[in-house]
Amino acid sequence: MPVKVRLADPLRQYTGNRTTLMVDSCYTIADLIRSLDREYPGIGGRILDDQENVRRFVNVFLNGDLVKGPPEKAAIRGDDEVFIIQSVAGG
């Protein structure tokens, strides 16, 4: 079963303006982001830093819950919904 991915607007530049995608064959958030990057080159580097951690001001939600810790350890399965968005800015 594919995972549904919803992306923040600034990432649309990589996906041909699409903000909702279906991604197959992923077992972790890291898998998912690698898969996105294969399909949409460059998008992975916007979400993950050089050490492949989620960027400090980017949030990944899995079924509405904020993913904390390394994306390699965040398991996902079919029918999950992943939301990738920048963290709140401003005071």
């Binding site: 600034p10 990432l11 080159p41 460059g42 580097g45 916007r46 979400i47 830093d49 050089d50 050490q51 492949e52 951690n53 960027r55 001001f57 980017v58 920048q86 963290s87 800015a89």
Partner: protein
């Protein structure tokens, strides 16, 4: 921007995007183009005359840094296939792209990039892919390096016109480093440079160089604006002599050199590190030629004034007479087409200006 061949350019990086100003009437009037990368920090832009490509270091604090290039002066932009990136396991991630430096004429596709945290990257394919110069990152003293207030940024890169393997870099607050072998081994070049904020005022490293430049046509002469004064070296950085002299402050960021008159320096100073406004609230561009004292040019600037400039905020062009340009942290952009003797306000409502460079398309 079709039709802008043979134009003079001012490239402006700001806190909220990048702008290109073009002049087709001998630098008398300027037309603004942009913003590009709207809403995003652009720490540096450069137009590489070797290829006609414009490069921009775009540093989005949320989505990370992107090295971008344009073959049409900003109308369209292409993202690098492989951005400057520290290796996995190093523990570092590139936070900002601080400086882009074209390589020598002998290596027309080579570029360097300086980043924070202090790192030097090289591209040998006109910016498509970037590789870490690991000799600097792995310097044996690296664990002892400390950042300045702007982070530990590698902001100055000099490629020796006599030998592309000879490189200088400036890092805040580490100082000047020099390599003779293309970046494999590095040695410090901070002799006689003061670090007034440390218990040992003249350490081997730990100086806060703010900007490093080389005099055109006199390759052994280097000039640096430092947290603690202005310095000149006439032996390619081996030793430095302080030339702060009659400047009203020893603290500043912006410095530029005349392209034609060797030893003519343009500088902007501020009250100090904890109050970055003009000395006595009077803004001036200070000019020095050779052994003559600094003299100020203040006509045409707001008075009193409470703005400052950043380390990439001043530039000179290659025309004769030399044009000089600076941008302020309040979004004012000024240009001089007569070697800094008189100034025109080119723009007055830009976002805070991080960098200014000049070129000819």
């Amino acid at each position: 921007m079709p039709g802008n061949k043979d134009a003079d350019l001012i490239l402006v990086g700001t806190r909220k995007g990048a702008f290109v100003f073009t002049s087709k009437d001998g630098r008398r009037s300027w037309k603004m183009h942009g913003p590009y990368f709207e809403g995003t920090d652009v720490f540096h832009m450069v137009h590489d005359g070797r290829s006609g490509t414009t490069y921009a270091g775009v540093s989005n604090y949320q989505w990370g840094p992107q090295m971008m290039s344009s073959r049409d002066l900003g109308e369209t932009w292409k993202e690098s296939k492989k951005h400057p990136k520290f290796p996995k396991g190093s523990g570092w991630s590139v936070e900002q792209l601080w400086h882009i430096e074209p390589g020598s004429e002998r290596n027309p596709e080579r570029l360097y990039a300086g980043v924070a945290p202090a790192g030097l990257f090289v591209s040998n394919d006109s910016g498509d892919t970037w590789k870490l110069v690991s000799g600097l990152t792995n310097h044996p003293t690296r664990k002892e390096w400390t950042p300045g207030a702007g982070g530990m940024c590698l902001h100055s890169i000099l490629v020796d016109p006599r030998s592309p393997k000879k490189l200088h870099v400036g890092i805040s607050a580490v100082g000047v480093l020099y390599s003779e072998d293309g970046g494999q081994k590095w040695s410090f070049q901070n002799k006689n440079v003061r670090a007034g904020f440390l218990p040992n005022k003249y350490p081997v490293f730990g100086q806060c160089v703010h900007k490093l430049r080389r005099v055109n046509g006199e390759p052994d002469t280097l000039i640096q604006m430092n947290h603690c004064g202005v310095y000149r070296s006439t032996d390619n950085g081996v030793a430095w002599k302080e030339i702060t002299e009659n400047l009203p402050s020893d603290f500043g960021f912006s410095i530029a050199l005349d392209h034609n008159v060797k030893g003519r320096i343009y500088a902007i100073v501020e009250k100090g590190g904890d109050n970055r406004t003009p000395p006595k609230d009077h803004f001036a561009v200070w000019i020095k030629e050779g052994s003559l004292p600094w003299r100020k040019v203040e006509k045409g600037f707001p008075d009193p004034a409470y703005f400052g400039t950043y380390r990439e905020g001043m530039a000179s062009d290659r025309e004769d007479p030399c044009g000089v340009y600076f941008g302020t942290n309040t979004g004012l952009l000024y240009a001089s087409r007569d070697m800094g003797e008189s100034w025109t306000r080119v723009a007055e409502a830009l976002p805070p200006i991080l960098s200014v460079t000049a070129a000819r398309a």
